[in-house]
């Protein structure tokens, strides 16, 4: 079976800085994978390369076996890769429901269909009761979940989440993890960019570690925390204990 997502020797250069350095990895069709690393490790750049926000300088990206390298963001979305933004970006003049409807318009032109799909996506992340609220009324965890609902309404096969749990308090983050688990159980593959290691250990089945733009390790969370390079470069010696 072909992998859902396959990065092959992907690099991205900004002037003299090699932000992503020859990264290769594969994602299977399901489950939660985390992309971790210290600040500036190239996680978000790598994420943006997959999402089509930036073209890679080198290497190829395949989705469901087809080359999608350099596709613009809207086409990446339309072939089944949904994304969120690290800094939440709601359309402020629209209600919660209307925000989510936009994603559904990537596969339908019927307003009623989009509305139904948006309600469904909001229910999945637990925002159903706030569908008609104004954006300004939402709390930070709600806004993060709104981002997720927007991405979900595009009916993705792969969901890219950029630090959806950053800035959340532990119980809020736990609620988000529960939502993600539920989505994964429904057959969605999720790639999580995250740097809170404790959350990653809890949520992900598979972890990819970036450091200085390059992949230094990949495996189960248990394997990762005992990996000498990861401990030295990222987690710090204290984590071993």
């Amino acid at each position: 079976m072909t992998d859902l997502l396959e990065l092959d020797g992907v690099s991205r250069r900004f002037g003299g800085l090699l932000a992503v350095d020859n990264v290769s990895f594969r994602l299977k069709g399901e489950g939660i994978t985390a992309l971790v690393g210290p600040n500036g490790a190239g996680k978000t750049t790598c994420f943006n390369l997959i999402a089509g926000a930036l073209p890679p300088t080198q290497g190829s990206i395949r989705f469901r076996g087809e080359i999608v390298t350099g596709f613009p963001a809207e086409d990446i979305c339309r072939i089944g890769i949904g994304r969120t933004f690290q800094v939440v970006r709601p359309m402020r003049d629209m209600t919660v429901l209307e925000n989510v409807m936009i994603g559904a318009f990537s596969w339908t032109r019927k307003v009623s269909e989009a509305r139904d799909a948006a309600r469904e996506a909001l229910d999945m992340v637990g925002l159903g009761p706030k569908a008609d609220a104004a954006i300004s009324k939402l709390t930070l965890p709600d806004r993060k979940m709104l981002e997720t609902a927007k991405a979900l309404s595009t009916r993705p096969r792969l969901l890219l989440l950029d630090e959806v749990m950053a800035g959340l308090r532990p119980p809020e983050a736990a609620a988000v993890v529960a939502v993600l688990r539920r989505l994964a159980e429904r057959g969605l593959s999720i790639l999580l960019v995250e740097h809170v290691m404790r959350i990653v250990m809890e949520a992900a089945e598979h972890v990819i570690v970036l450091h200085h733009g390059a992949k230094i390790a990949e495996g189960t969370p248990r394997y990762i925390v005992s990996h000498p390079e990861v401990v030295a470069g990222y987690l710090g010696e204290g984590f071993r204990a």
């Binding site: 809207e74 339309r78 318009f105 032109r109 509305r115």
Partner: protein
Amino acid sequence: MQKKRDALPDRGAVIGCLAAFAVLAMLGGVLNPHLISLLTIVFLFTFIGQSWSIMLGLGGQLSIGHALFVGIGAYSVAVLNIRYGLSPWFGLVVGMALAAIVGATLAWLSFRFEVRGIYFALLTIAAAEFARVVFSGWEFVGAMEGLFFPAHSGPNSFWMLRGDARFYYFVSLAAVLLGVSATALIRQSFLGYVWRAMRDDEDASRALGVRTFLHKILVVSFSGAWAAIGGGLLALVQGSVFPDSIMGMGISVDILVGPIVGGLGTAFGPLIGTLITLPLDHLASAIGNKFGIPGLNNVGYGLVLIAAVWLLPDGIWPAIVNSAKSITRFSWFGNLQMEQVKK
């Protein structure tokens, strides 16, 4: 509170809207000729303003050269009618098609090379001025001397779109009704949603699958075709076309004042705004002429714009809707109003 905003307009909204137009239609039967011709111009500028308002208020693309599309429509009607004796209806269709093509080309060139925002607005000015200069030197379309429609006599003719002042009053009023309905329908269609999303955050909407490049071209092209209809009607009402008066900067500015004062992107904003600003402009102009102060009307425009932006930054119509909502909970107003457009 705003639960129904995305629903189709309910019966109340439709009845309210039709009642307003019924009153305007009855006024057409009783007003004196001077007011009839003034209101006709108000309606035509409302209609053109609606096209401009869709482009900025929904699509997020600023045009300060809408006279380009108005001129294309006006000249299409004038040339086909005066030179070839064809019905203005053909001219309107040809003008729409030409304006749509010119709009799409302008937008494609501009967005292809990432010319956005205020730079796109500058490009629209340049395009309009370029067209004005070309038409000023083009003998076939009358150059600086312009084109004149033959004087109309005999009964009103819907087929040839010729008639007396009252005839044009009703034609223009029908155009405004069409414009209000079209704006309301577009807002509730997928185009309205997608355009507003694109206006608010282009990159975020792209990530949600919105083909913004295509939609930006579409909204400019659509708005241009719409403005061209208004230009064709304006030419018929004025009975003549000149490059300076139909394609000049003045027209581009006249178009945008009404929607800004009334409420951008809203169904009724352009009508309310133009009903206030255009007569005020004429009044100030008349006073200025009487006392020998040319340009007083421009000062008037300036003051009204400053006052509107200062006191009611979202426009008069949204302000009316909000106060009506808070006082009487007339939720049906909400369906025809549009949310505030953020600068």
